[in-house]
Symmetry: C2
Subunit: 198 residues, 2 copies
DNA sequence: ACAGCCATGTAACTTGTTACATGATTTT
DNA sequence: AAAATCATGTAACAAGTTACATGGCTGT
């Protein structure tokens, strides 16, 4: 929902045309995530379908301006005043490590080591990019905020990986391993007991 | 991709039927994210379409067993040995705060304060749930790992929110604010210069 | 003339998510 | 007998993502 909601929030500032929205989104998020232009137009059409925006009159250059509706403005207000629900979405890394740790056939320590190397390199890269860009103007400040966000997250990730690594190392070989058929439910539904096609 | 890849990784341990896969996924991820059963069957059909799994013979109870293909097993190996790409996906919170901070009409400090309250409460909740469940058995340990992951992330989030709050407070009123039309491209494409319908 | 950007759109696709239908078996 | 759980599926949809088509305008 972040793209959809961000575009709507920008439109709450005043009418924009599609290409301009991409520019505004980039400036405000430090141009960290490149946004395919096509997605702008898709999203605008979906917002229109939901009654949150409407097409305005084109200007002298023929730009298709979009303006927010009252319903859309209400949605922006609600968005800004309600916290983002973390933990509702699945965490790909937590799932992966957790699954790998409980899979008897997988080398969890190796998975952790590789992730750790990647994240360490990533942290350096983030720091470099933040320092390169600077934070003199508003756009640079936005970029720095996003870089910081990722650096805090990467740092936490490293500490968690170490934490997991220690816990796994502390346990006897494969104490976490979960066999597939450990406790399979006994109830079934008999349909065919013989081969499918004889 | 986390559900898809996790199910495939579980199937790499041996054939499973749909309902069983849900159980296995839950055990291995601490049952933190409830997985709608329907999604299992959808995902299996898509994995079959992609040649990563195939339907095996049903057992005496009529359970539809699924088994991994060589291609699927290769995919699991690749998944486990390649790090999760963090930062490729957009961070909803980073975007929201960054957009709110650059929107002249929004009260970024209020947005941050509300998020902070939510995350603090969430951190307490996570700690409580982790301690309640314990980590005696393998399943409990998996649960604890996931809870820890979320706690590390929530902690980092709090520190980032404070960091952003300080930066915003340090700057003069609305120094971050980005006006919509600051520098709009001059190039257009003339199509209609008059009103659309006269 | 031509490359490259500005600008709008369309079509097809991915993963994830939910609601619903159906029926068997087990528990109470 | 009723409620709960086991089990398989289907249909529809959301948000995101990409590739492509089509032009106009700008700078070299």
């Amino acid at each position: 929902m972040s793209v959809r909601q961000s575009l709507l929030a920008i439109l709450a500032q005043g009418p924009c045309y599609g290409y301009q929205l991409r520019h505004e989104f980039d400036r405000r998020t430090g141009a960290v995530w490149s946004l395919n232009v096509g997605q702008i137009y898709n999203t605008l059409e979906r917002l229109e379908r939901d009654g949150f925006v409407r097409r305005g009159a084109p200007d002298a250059q023929g730009h298709v301006y979009w303006e927010i509706t009252d319903e859309g403005a209400d949605d922006v207000d609600r968005w800004l005043l309600s916290p983002v629900e973390r933990g509702a979405a699945r965490d790909e890394l937590a799932i992966k490590i957790s699954v790998a740790a409980t899979l008897p056939g997988a080398d969890a320590a190796e998975v952790i080591a590789r992730q750790r190397a990647e994240t360490t390199a990533r942290l350096d890269d983030l720091r470099r990019r933040r320092d390169e860009r600077g934070d003199a103007d508003a756009e640079g400040l936005a970029h720095a905020l996003v870089m910081d966000s990722m650096m805090f997250a990467a740092d936490a990730e490293l500490r968690w990986l170490d934490h997991v690594g220690e816990r796994l190392a502390a346990h006897p070989q494969h104490a976490l391993a979960l066999e597939l058929t450990a406790e399979r439910p006994k109830r079934g539904r008999p349909r065919t007991s013989g081969p499918a096609l004889v």
